[in-house]
Symmetry: C2
Subunit: 440 residues, 2 copies
């Protein structure tokens, strides 16, 4: 990276081109492009050899890829498309205008087109959308010797062929023959004798999240995919699953701050500013809601100004405690550890943990407040408010993700905003409300 | 899971045992144990067949595993240890008391012990700690035919053998022979003719995060590991890397809320409450700091109580905007997209985005405030404070992760706390400070 940076600064484009196309792998080039400011990025893209264009495109994030694609004419796209495997081609096509898709499809031979249409038939984030139709199938009655000769007749095998898929004449999925088993078996054994029938094929409609969990739980490298009639339609390989795991992790982390995981770090400023503005706007509304609650008790604050000094403590501590429960449950739901089976137990536990900390910190804060303002009442008030808010926070934090999920709202995105609104409103209302009664 | 829940309720332990040991894979059993409340968990663990104990232990999270291990005597541990592969055994041992480790080591044969000690020599979170010493090596001068016969002489091959490792007589790493290449090559070709020499072996001291990035970037299924002298010492397989990716994602997500990713969701309440208390305590100190700032301007608030109603808006909006920049940079650093090369560019960009939104929302909030309180001054004040705070937030959010990383503090853990302290203090100080001047 440093040598490229230096070469760019020195202005020697030939040198940059040499470094780019000489030793870097397509995924390294893509990474470099993604980490470069727009001007440099455009320049570097021009310098990448046409031959590598296709592979580099596969590794780029959706946003940057569609930027580049929109500047290419249909002919260039078709040339690139020839090098793609079916599952990657399906992803690529979904970002192109309809007319170009049609042109690309027309140039493909019938078999490739059929495979492609099979993959396109499924949603992008399902097993069918992830799968590749490129695989080696064998019949159960042939011998290991024949299988080995068959394989030897190929110029190369599909990527990540860690097992051969066993089907019958009608393409029904029967079992899996791991390559490592093949290599240690005697030449006269039949496929049927050595294959595994305990492997569950993945239905094409299963979500990509579930696929990732299955791969992770059973340490898979590849898995067969079947349609609803039990016929083998493709296989998923671990590289695509790793991408899914990364994307899901990105999504969870970035959503909590209201960011989009597809966001390009070097997009034009106006574009970024606009998408951030929406999130800020929503949060502003909830902030005004909390202020409105404070506004109800303006008279009380005018009487006892110390309330204004202390009230943010009640609100923010509720937010912190609630966020812990919320984050734990959201992550637990994403990894399959939390479900309707154990959620009630979890809520009980979070309630008790919240109550314990509520009592502890209420005591600490009350003492500090009493000493600071030389006023016992205010200490009692803030203790009560803290206790109320921390317990409400624990319950809300645990309950919200499930409620949101039932309403089909993304908990990672909406959970935080709603939670802090709840803890702010409850915090201010309990503290200032009790104060109004106490100082009446 | 449902059938187990029903069987447990009906009290039929035999039925539960049958379901457990009959069809579930060890990783499914581990998942079930992790999702069960403590009493059920202990019960289920008793019911798991002794034979499966070892494999189930491998899939459990560190905390739960050490709970179970602490209740087993050395003899049981030794029996279980016999089934473990070297890299998993290294993980297991690191959780046992010294005396037990010694006993286990003594029962192992010399070769296994040496391999184990090799793995234990490296930190847990490095390539050396992740690697397995179980692999197939071949010399470059033998033919494909000989290799195939050699493989056929094994009862089974190591898990995830997707390539054979080519070494010379002195165990220097020379290259990699993918199994798929082996299967399509003519029987008379030599290993040297068909092997790949463009694969970079991973130095054993590289961090597990870097290993994950390498695997992801180059779509690897396994990779050779060398020591500092270039000798082959082991290989890493994708299943361990997927675990690393998941753990790192968990860590980032949970750290931001002050949670530990090793936390057991069903740990005893007191244990959980205590660890949460520490985080709440730290946040309480920062909350008091913000309150102290408000306290400086008590007199001003007494004069204009509307300030107390509006001040949380300035503080919270700063926190929201700052969190976006912070989250983006932290995630960017974790995935290698953000580095000292592009951080200055990024900071410029976030500053401009922050300034844009600062101006926009300052205007909106000012208008709302003016209408609400029928006071132009307060509108101008809140607009100025918003502008200041949103720009400071953008800069702080971008700069903090790098600063923390240089100080060797985990940005995911400390970044949020520090950022909200900054935005609270700056928010209150600018709003109330300007107000003091305006209403003097």
């Amino acid at each position: 990276m440093r040598s490229i940076a230096e070469a760019l600064e020195s202005g020697s484009l030939q040198q940059v081109a040499r470094i780019l196309n000489g030793g870097l792998s397509p995924s390294d080039i893509a990474h470099l492009l993604e980490s470069s400011p727009p001007n440099e990025r455009k320049l570097l893209w021009q310098l990448v050899d046409d031959e590598l264009d296709g592979e580099v495109l596969q590794y780029l994030s959706d946003e940057i890829r569609s930027d580049f694609l929109s500047e290419m004419n249909a002919q260039d796209v078709i040339e690139i498309a020839e090098d793609f495997e079916v599952d990657d081609l399906a992803d690529l096509l979904q970002q192109l205008p309809e007319a170009v898709i049609q042109e690309v499809l027309e140039t493909m031979d019938a078999q490739d087109r059929q495979r492609l249409e099979e993959v396109l038939a499924y949603p992008e984030d399902s097993a069918g959308g992830l799968m590749n139709t490129d695989m080696i199938t064998v019949r159960p009655d042939i011998t290991v010797d024949v299988v080995l000769r068959y394989l030897r007749s190929h110029k190369s095998l599909p990527n990540m062929t860690d097992s051969l898929l066993v089907v019958n004449r009608k393409d029904d999925f029967i079992g899996v023959l791991p390559v490592t088993t093949l290599l240690v078996s005697s030449l006269s054994s039949t496929v049927r004798e050595i294959m595994r029938t305990d492997v569950e094929p993945i239905p094409a409609t299963v979500s990509d999240k579930e696929v990732a969990t299955l791969f992770e739980r059973h340490d898979l490298v590849s898995a067969p995919v079947v349609n609803d009639k039990g016929k083998l339609v493709g296989r998923i390989t671990i590289d695509d699953v790793v991408d899914v795991i990364r994307e899901n992790a990105d999504h969870e982390i970035l959503s909590m701050a209201g960011l989009d995981e597809e966001e390009d770090m070097f997009a034009p400023i106006m574009k970024t500013a606009k998408s951030r503005a929406v999130w800020l706007g929503i949060n502003l509304i909830t902030a005004f809601l909390a202020s409105a609650v404070i506004g109800i008790f303006e008279a009380t604050i005018a009487k006892v100004v110390a309330l204004a000094v202390l009230m943010p403590i009640v609100a923010s501590m509720g937010g912190i405690a609630g966020s812990q429960a919320l984050t734990l449950v959201i992550r637990g739901m994403a990894t399959g550890k939390v479900s309707s089976n154990n959620i009630r137990w979890l809520m009980n536990r979070e309630f008790l943990v919240g109550a314990f900390n509520g009592v502890l910190w209420a005591f600490v804060v009350a003492t500090a407040a009493m000493v600071w303002f030389n006023d016992v009442t205010i200490g009692v008030l803030i203790a009560s408010a803290m206790l109320i808010n921390l317990t409400v926070a624990a319950i809300a934090g645990t309950a919200l993700p499930l409620i949101l999920k039932t309403l089909k709202i993304d908990p990672a995105l909406a959970g935080g905003v709603i939670l802090t609104t709840v803890t702010d409103v409850v915090g201010f209302m309990s503290f200032l409300g009790l104060a109004t009664i106490a100082y009446a």
